[in-house]
Symmetry: C2
Subunit: 403 residues, 2 copies
């Protein structure tokens, strides 16, 4: 095997065509510095990039690998409208349909890698029904595909924590077993005890030295209260940069002055906001969050679940949804939509060496597009996905066996 690879005729971030040299899993040089001459002669493999757009590997910073129905035939959804309807239905369906966490997470990972995803943060259900089986299943997939994607696991109390005795102990077990992040969920809406819920989440984070990622669907002023409590605890415990609020619909509430106040507080506490760019509910305003510099990264539920039918596992399509939701039309605005699905997610996951500059890890994707804006608006085919310097997907398909 060659010790280095030269990717010829690629356009990094839409700039002029160039060659990119990769050695030891890192980008050594692009542009004039990249030439076969830098490798020992005969020791450099050459791959023709065909003039494609080169983007950093896409970061799927919020998904649920354990609950996708991908590859299981169409699930006929007749679930009720409330959040708790969906939670209860899913817990029942896991058994009824046989949603195997290891098999299903493997299927979704392969789908996502085919679309250019190189890093995934997945929430995984922990509850008194399924125990740690979800965590174990996704850990098996993480191990199985360790050479093609990096996976971070959030222990996620989907059915509530305080309202279901035994869940907190299971959360601790999950973190001991291999989960990387402490999850949480609607402190008032589900656990009916915002102080108790958040104290428990932050307590687990302190005890295990882990970051936090909390699902916050609570709307308007109720959600704003949970944001305030989260800011207070993040500052008190010195967890700046290590706390994420996912969804945060309340940041889309009409009271602009109140939202500005929340955004200031979030920025000072270094709290990340994750959004799917949802079309049917209030949503965090990504342009206001991005200026001056509060990272924001999109959530992603790839492919259908018992919750809903949408999602194809494609983070460029997700960037399009974020762009459409936030009325991003100009090319510079679509650049923001891409940043959210790349560097935004990388900030949340605190990725080391992320990007397509010299010295970065060689995790990138070649896209059949003229500009970044076209890649976002049209989410055209992925020609090649590279992880750690190796080609891991071609023409939209991951080069792995899928169960």
């Amino acid at each position: 095997m060659a010790s280095a690879t030269l990717f010829t005729n690629v356009r990094p971030a839409g700039k002029a065509a160039t060659d990119v040299l990769v050695r030891g899993g890192r980008i050594v040089a692009g542009g004039q510095g990249a030439s076969v001459g830098q490798g020992a002669p005969g020791d450099v493999a050459v791959i023709d990039g065909g003039g494609a757009l080169m983007l950093p590997g896409l970061v799927e910073a919020h998904t649920h690998l354990d609950k996708t129905l991908y590859g299981m035939g169409w699930y006929r959804n007749a679930v009720g409208p409330r959040l708790i309807d969906k939670i209860d239905n899913e817990r029942a369906m896991k058994r009824a349909l046989g949603i195997d966490p290891a098999r299903q997470s493997a299927r979704q990972v392969a789908l996502s890698v085919g679309h250019g995803t190189t890093h995934i943060r997945s929430h995984v259900d922990v509850d008194t029904d399924i125990g740690l089986a979800g965590i174990e299943g996704v850990m098996a997939t993480r191990e199985r595909y360790r050479d093609i994607v990096d996976i971070e696991i959030v222990a996620f109390p989907q059915s509530g924590m305080l309202v279901r005795p035994g869940t907190v102990e299971l959360m601790a077990d999950a973190l001991r077993l291999g989960a990387d992040v402490v999850g949480g969920l609607d402190p008032s809406g589900i656990d009916r005890d915002p102080k108790g819920h958040l104290d428990t989440v932050f307590g687990l984070a302190e005890r295990f030295g882990k970051p936090i990622d909390i699902h916050l669907h609570e709307p308007g002023e109720l959600g704003a209260f949970a944001v305030e409590l989260t800011i207070e605890r993040t500052r008190a415990l010195g967890l700046q940069g290590r706390v994420t609020l996912s969804h945060a619909f309340c940041l889309g509430m009409p009271d602009a002055a109140a939202v500005d106040g929340l955004i200031d507080g979030l920025r000072q506490a270094g709290i990340h906001i994750m959004t799917t760019g949802p079309a049917s509910v209030a949503a965090p305003p990504v342009k206001r969050l991005a200026a001056p510099a509060s990272p924001s990264a999109p959530a992603m539920t790839a492919s259908a679940t018992t919750w809903g039918p949408y999602g194809t596992g494609d983070m460029l399509e997700r960037a399009m949804f974020v762009g459409m939701r936030n009325n991003l039309r100009r090319d510079d605005e679509l650049q923001l939509a891409l940043d959210i699905c790349t560097h935004g997610g990388a900030a949340v996951m605190a990725l080391d060496g992320y990007g397509i500059e010299a010295g970065c890890r060689a995790d990138f994707v070649l896209v059949e597009a003229e500009t970044i804006a076209e890649a976002v608006a049209g989410h055209p085919p992925r020609n090649l996905v590279v992880k750690g310097g190796r080609v891991v997907a071609r023409d939209g398909r991951a080069l792995v066996e899928v169960p």
Copy 2:
């Protein structure tokens, strides 16, 4: 050429697999009634449907064929945020970029037919700069592709009508030349004269005996006033069923009681509402519009224009956008999203013999999906598109030459 065609092993609207016999451009029979025996022996061509889902031809009931940039290289959008910025920029760009209406409309039509569209209503700009050149260009495309798609043309005063003297006369010329529908645009927002604008639009409709389709972007109470004026004129002139309001963002305003009142008035006047399912602005609530029976059909801007970068010319993707905007998740709700992009558009265009029952015109599409919900949520590949009994597209591509 065979006088009849038997499409074997298709699943009409997701029902059990069957054969569908087509003769003389019409569906003769499906199910047990369809057999080769019904044609003169040897005179029936057989096409294998491969078990695909069979849907009626998709209806793109609102697009702008004259202004797509499809196939012209990526347009770097740096346009200002106001509606008038976009209108003025586009009028300038038509010359600067050379957006040829005949060529561009042909490109978009081929794209749409490849995705399963069999009927299109297109607004076409009429203004004192371009005159009737847009109308003539789209009329040329209508003639060119008359065997693969039905196209209806709306004379559309994109740059305003009363504020640009000479435009009303050009609108009349367009209707004489071959436009089918009288267009209008933001009576207060652009022409600054809601009574004058609407009286002119309805006056042209009376004079030429044509239906009406008005772009109404005006938000909240301003838009509601335009809706009221439109209802009054529709009833006074007996134009029930022949008037459409496109976009109608005001129907998404927060005051639910006011919206209910408007919807009642629209229903009594038989006015159609067209929506794109826009993610970033207030939008008409399709579930409330659909019950009991007020037709609603989605608008579609296929592929990038100088207005914005989104759109792929795929009405199943549009159905997904409508579904996501309206939080449609259950299978029965996704059926509504499809209805909007098929029968809803057919009602707006007053199509005769539309559907996939025996006796209907043989305009349909075969989709690689298990259920209607899957077709909407995943907008999977179109295997075959049939228009008037003839195969006009295969594997996503129209079987025509494209300029």
